[in-house]
Assembly symmetry: C2
Homo-oligomer: 114 residues x 2
DNA sequence: GATAGCGCTATCCTTCAGGATAGTAATATG
DNA sequence: CATATTACTATCCTGAAGGATAGCGCTATC
């Protein structure tokens, strides 16, 4: 352990932020969970996550893909067929999601009880 | 396990969201980490988290207090003395913060390499 | 009497995530 | 020839988070 400069603090904080960013926003978590049940096509996700808009779904998928948490596979067909699928790296997120859920349940209990 | 209706999905998602909300935003995580080194006064936090504004610091502290993650203690003095301190419930967050950090570090490595 | 110190609150402003709506390419089907 | 289908993109708009700046109550010190 080194001294508590702003820099050493940030070194601890940045990876936490990175993780929070991957999960952040209104849709990424839901998206991930739906994809955890198996690969999905764009329109299928749009239905399952309704009322998400196409624009937003498209952006969120790109963000997850950029973070290598899902893959995008395009098949040569018309109308287009594109499949989204969780990567092993994406799977590894579920351990921490489950920890967040455990804390969240304890939290809810504490807050609710008087 | 029950069927995968929107409702059962949400039941899993909501506590995760609760946890993410407690940590969310630009400052709460930093605030928590600084408080993990010991109780702090308002102006002390303002300096340590500079360039946070008073307005924002005040709101963030209230949010953490409402979530019972910190306590606020007011001493009878002038100029005012107010002390903020992590609760045991707040301490319990650090386990999941550390998990987030671990995933974040692995993530950064994966994304950076090639 | 002016100024400083602490822990705020009030007002105004900017930024940005995400919603609403519409349009596109290329083919198949009626 | 019109229409449907799929996976998007383009444009415009709203609401909410958070920044900038100023002020307040009460006392102590110069």
């Amino acid at each position: 352990m080194s001294v508590r400069t702003k820099e050493t603090c940030n070194k601890h904080i940045i990876p936490v932020r990175d993780a929070l960013e991957v999960l952040g926003g209104r849709w990424k978590l839901q998206l991930l969970i739906h994809l955890s049940f198996g690969p999905r096509r764009f329109s299928q996700l749009a239905k399952e996550l309704s009322p998400i808009t196409d624009r937003t779904l498209s952006r969120e998928l790109k963000s997850l893909e950029a973070n290598k948490v899902i893959t995008r596979t395009e098949y040569d067909a018309f109308p287009p067929v594109v499949e989204y699928k969780i990567t092993p790296h994406g799977e590894s997120l579920f351990a921490v999601i489950s920890e967040l859920g455990n804390w969240g349940r304890a939290h809810r209990k504490l807050i609710m009880d008087k």
